[in-house]
């Protein structure tokens, strides 16, 4: 009876620990790498990695329909199964003895490497900080995601900033802005749109207030390459205290915010890159762009940044240059780009809770190989000594 009950479990354990599963996972990952590389032509690097590597399943949109069907395991699924397979195989096959200590450490390092890539793929946040010489920034932005910022600017010293993610605007008919009396009715959402001045021949504007009354909006297909962000736009109707404040056009192409007043409080509306404010600030003191003498070939880019964190009593200068990021408060600030006649510096800001795991795994593999080598050498020397003794 017990044997029958355990049979499926044993079969599952057999599958999980099998070398065939390892090979299948490795083959799936190889296929995904090739497909992801080819797809970068149409989707851009970021888009292709999201579709093939950072997903549980690869989906295929059936042409001519709204159907989307899974056709292949994604990188996350293949990697997770591989990690489970490696752990299970390790526990089943490798004997627990001091002789195998080195191999145990090597395998632990390899498993940690797979887990590290999984954590990075799923939890890494890529943001940006663009500032000019002399400017101070206390926020970072997601360059590929937008938000509708509703900002209460009434207080002379503080702004209350409410960020509504574009994903929420895309699927909600109305959004209650928490902490405010404002409800935003979403009349229309456009992931990407171009703006132009209206002409008398255009259809009546959707917007009834603000600058949108003079603007023609043309929907564009979403951007799929890495070099440009989507110019997200929406028509929203703020309602507060039972009164409508008209329908406003908000767009990432409109540089300055629009505003309305409710009971003496001034609220601004602005579509912009999704922003995360920091409890500290960074000031760009100087950006330097060195080239090799007599050429235009870049030699080095560096940003001299002043870090100010009143809460920790920190106020110091930091030099950020190629491959030398500032690691601070769980984020790494890398020199990524520049512009505006070498007065603007763009830092890539990466938040990755698993950034240490690859380093630890490399150390583990190295230590494991050294331990295994030492054990094997010791055993070999003992054998030689025993053989020499037998001959003498």
């Amino acid at each position: 009876m017990t044997r029958i009950e355990n049979r499926p479990l044993r079969a599952l354990l057999g599958v999980l620990t099998s070398l065939k599963l390892t090979i299948v996972c490795m083959a799936a990952l190889m296929v995904l790498v090739v497909a992801c590389t080819l797809a970068q032509v149409h989707l851009g690097t970021w888009g292709a990695v999201n579709v093939y590597m950072r997903s549980w399943l690869v989906w295929w949109d059936v042409p001519g329909t709204v159907l989307s069907v899974p056709v292949f395991p994604g990188g996350a699924l293949a990697g997770a199964v591989l990690a489970v397979n490696l752990i299970a195989a390790q526990l089943k096959r490798l004997e627990l003895s001091w002789k195998k200590a080195g191999l145990w450490i090597v395998h632990a390092g390899l498993i940690l490497l797979v887990i590290g890539e999984f954590v990075t793929g799923m939890f890494q946040q890529d943001m940006q900080l663009a500032f000019e010489e002399g400017h101070t920034a206390n926020y970072v932005e997601y360059p590929r995601e937008n938000e509708l910022a509703v900002i209460d600017v009434t207080d002379p010293a503080w702004d209350e900033v409410y960020g509504i993610p574009e994903t929420l605007l895309a699927r909600a008919d109305e959004v209650q802005v928490p902490g405010t009396p404002i409800t935003l009715k979403v009349k229309r959402f456009l992931k990407n749109a171009d703006l132009a001045m209206r002409t008398p021949n255009d259809a009546p504007a959707i917007a009834t207030a603000g600058v949108g009354t003079s603007i023609r909006v043309a929907e564009l297909p979403p951007v799929t390459t890495d070099d440009r962000p989507n110019a997200t736009a929406a028509f929203v109707e703020p309602v507060a205290g039972g009164r409508s404040y008209g329908t406003w056009l908000v767009s990432a192409l409109l540089a300055a915010p629009q505003q309305f007043v409710y009971e003496g409080r001034t609220y601004q509306l602005a579509m912009r890159s999704r922003r995360v404010y920091l409890p500290y600030s960074l000031t760009l003191k100087d950006f330097t762009h060195d080239v090799y003498p007599g050429t235009e070939i870049p030699k080095n880019f560096s940003s001299l940044v002043h870090l100010n964190n009143p809460a920790r009593g920190e106020s110091r200068d930091v030099l950020i240059y190629m491959n030398q990021p500032l690691r601070y408060d769980g984020k790494a600030f890398y020199q990524a780009s520049f512009g505006k006649g070498d007065t603007l510096s763009i830092l890539q800001v990466v938040s990755n809770p698993g950034w240490l795991l690859p380093y630890i795994s490399c150390v583990l593999v190295t230590v494991g190989l050294l331990v295994h080598f030492a054990i094997t050498m010791r055993r070999s020397m003992r054998r030689r000594a025993a053989a020499a003794e037998a001959h003498s």
């Binding site: 400017h135 171009d194 603000g210 008209g246 409109l254 540089a255 309305f260 505006k340 007065t343 763009i346």
Partner: protein, 204 residues
Amino acid sequence: MIVGALVLAASGCQRESVSHFRVPKSAPAPEPAGMAAMPAGMGGGMGAPGMAGDVPPPAQPTGSSALAWTLPKGWNEVRGGGAMRYATITPPASGGKVEVTVIVLPGPAGGELANVNRWRGQIGLPPLDDAALASARKHVKTRAGDVSVYDFLGEGQQKTRVVAGFTFTEGNTWFLKMSGDASAVGARKPEFVSLLESLRLDAN
């Protein structure tokens, strides 16, 4: 894996919710990151200014309410030419990047100080206050009324410069901005000022 999936789902939900930050007031923000990656020299800043005030009038800059101007010799113009632009004007090549944009918006469009500080922010200069704004302002008389003219030189190794005219007429705010490499903008400034001097309402 189940725990991992739950954590993942939770983090996904977090990104869907409305965020809230209480932040100290700051200087004018730099250009959006996407614009910032533009080639050096042009200084970005082609986006349109916004609109302040509660429900402004929806005016149309057509017919008798639209501005017209006379192009200096050798200059070219296209209507539109970019998001939010009324016109894009290109001077002849003069050893550097330079471009003139014309943007028109109904109403006060955020006001003169906010827009001037936005231009200054685009070339890395700190904001001005009302007193400093008045001393930086020059005037050009035109048939369409008085035009405020500002000239700012940015900092940095490769200097950028903005010369911009600002006028409010027939319920619309007009921005005529020449920006680019400092030397090229300097070379074209007299012709740009003559373009500003030629401003008139289209009906005249």
